[in-house]
Subunit: 356 residues, 2 copies
DNA sequence: CACATAACTTGCTATGTAGCAGCAACTAAT
DNA sequence: ATTAGTTGCTGCTACATAGCAAGTTATGTG
């Protein structure tokens, strides 16, 4: 029993165990008493207690006694949270959308005196180093990096935004992509369009899937049959927007409206259509998604879905803060509505219809 | 002498003083010996030494002895550097330019296994909190926030990029804005232009001043007299690019080329000129500065100055790392050349000239 | 000369004693 | 009833011993 392990280690473990078993609550017996109980000397107990105090397990009140520290393991508060965006994501923080989210998070966090740092390196070592400096992380989740996020969750509380994680245990704040694109379709129909094309993003995440699903449901809702030839599979990039436009131009009959799964593709499409001599919106209407800055700046300005960025920041931070503070949270998953901003890239349909 | 201060504190101070006075070097006498020398008991010395070890002043080698820890105060290596950009800057990290710099820094830092975090909150408390987590900072400097940067320099090494600081003690990595815009003017002249306008940015920093000075020198170099009416004072924003175009349209004679102090203004100008029925580049040539992503994406694609972003990242990180490692650095201030990327927004002058 | 042994040093653990100061509660004196 | 003293608890500091393991050095023997 005594072999090589020092007695004071034994005493420490004994005390820890007693605390765990709730045999010891609040105030400890006096050091001398304890020494007698455990059959070791007073000084040994002192050393053990001293160690436990530096470990944070116990705390002392001079001339009163020694007490159990019930504050939970309590990750030392950094008052700093991280915003994670995988570096391999297209554009990454360069993307206007994500940087706006960062700014919004920073603003809302400052109100509670939290600092925010952005990082994107998913190298395990460097990631852990960064995680040790933050109390929690808000991460933009895409399936490809979900393992990274699960890894992070081992160390700190995590809230995901953009997509919810497959692991539904991680709280999420997303936007209602589905109904947003239903609204886009509704709007196009209200302008008399019925030949409505769609450029998908990647189908590797809920975002892409739900925008496409919203498009499909919007058509059904407006009694329009889905024509697969009017769906182009893009990848969110400006380039793929150009390719999508090229594709639509090969069709016998051009759609009168194209809804794009994001603004970059919409911009690419506008560029190519115009290059080929088409007028926007007279010849073809374009709708985007995200409402990045340039959307309002180009001519014609782009009709698009505006993400409620401030709301995303507000909710995700308040959930994260609750997790950090060890509170229980009511709503694990929040889907915020996103609505259409009508600008100049859509016109009423000229052919056939004058419906609605 | 003994009043209330514990003896072991006395012993600690004595040892520290002895180290400072170089009376104690490398190995300490044995604890028992020390006790005899100082006239206190062995256990008291033990306690003192133990404390000094936890303080990091001494270190022990079991069964060998106790030694003085000569590692310099040595800021505990976080292997993390910060990238700072004032939150109140127009666009901030949303600006494609700065986010590209961040990505480039992250890439070069990863090679030395450094993490990079971006932060922009300049609130003193939160700033210090963040600074305590990094070994050094690369900061985009503008005069308005120079006090913040000087403040940071109190805690960690700092390298500024973009502008050099008024305090020339801070190492800087900037681009040669002056010669870059000289190159722009040269190019415009080589296309036969002689009525060359300029849209300034803000004159609150070297960047803005030097780009304008480069324009002026370029004109002189090409034997063109400066016409102040062809200079519009902008503020780098897209909106001010529009206003600049409006201004030029009020002139009796439009310049045939407008050089803009950044791409955003160039984009705004292009938009407005086109809206007013002008063709780019047939009716007016436009040159930007920065080479942001959209510069290549718009129609016509924008001729602009490309910042050597990777070079900036490489140099600023290597300087910062040298500072962190306590090495002396040779070159305090580096100005990197930036060159013109010729695209589609400039055409040969149609009137009068066919020079060169 | 080589090698084993003994003597010594180092830090580590453990235990004992002792006086101090601050506090609370009880008790005795005013 | 208030005050003053006593007692006993707490943790804190200080000092003294003593055995242990592990490395170092001096010594002695083949």
């Amino acid at each position: 029993m005594s072999d090589t392990t020092p007695k004071y280690i034994f005493v420490e473990n004994h005390i820890k165990a007693a605390i765990k078993k709730k045999e010891l609550v609040d105030k400890l017996p006096g050091e001398r008493t304890l020494a007698a109980q455990l059959g070791v000397s007073y000084m040994t107990v002192r050393k053990s207690v001293e160690n436990l105090v530096t470990q944070g397990v116990l705390y002392k009140v001079p001339t009163k006694g020694t007490y159990v520290n019930y504050e939970k393991p309590q990750r030392s508060k950094n008052y700093t949270i991280g915003y994670f965006l995988d570096a391999t994501m297209i554009a990454g923080i360069s993307s206007p959308y994500y940087s706006l989210i960062f700014d919004a998070i920073e603003k809302v966090a400052a109100k509670d005196d939290y600092s925010v740092v952005y990082f994107s390196d998913n190298n395990p070592d460097r990631l852990n180093r960064t995680l040790s400096k933050v109390d929690g992380v808000i991460a933009t989740c895409i399936p490809r990096i979900e393992h990274v996020i699960l890894e992070m969750k081992q160390s700190v509380p995590v809230v995901v935004i953009e997509n919810s994680a497959a692991d539904k245990v991680i709280p999420s704040v997303i936007i209602d992509n589905f109904n947003a694109d239903v609204e886009s379709v509704d709007y196009a129909c209200s302008l008399g369009h019925s030949k409505i094309g769609f450029m998908t993003g990647l189908d590797d995440s809920d975002v892409g899937k739900n925008r496409y699903a919203g498009y499909q449901y919007g058509l059904r809702k407006n009694k329009i049959e889905l024509d697969k030839s009017l769906v182009f599979n893009g990848n969110y990039s400006y380039q793929s927007g150009i390719e999508g436009a090229e594709y639509f131009l090969t069709l016998d009959e051009l759609p009168t409206t194209v809804i794009c799964a994001n603004d970059s593709m919409a911009l690419g499409a506008i560029r190519h259509f115009r290059q080929e001599g088409l007028n926007i919106p007279e010849d073809i209407s374009i709708i985007g998604f995200d409402n990045i800055d340039v959307a309002a700046q180009i001519v014609p300005s782009l009709t698009t879905i505006a993400s409620p960025i401030d709301e995303i920041a507000k909710h995700s931070f308040s959930i994260l803060k609750a997790l950090i503070d060890g509170k229980t949270i009511e709503q694990q998953h929040i889907a915020l509505p996103a609505h259409l901003i009508i600008r100049d890239s859509c016109a009423t349909a000229k052919n056939k219809s004058a419906a609605a």
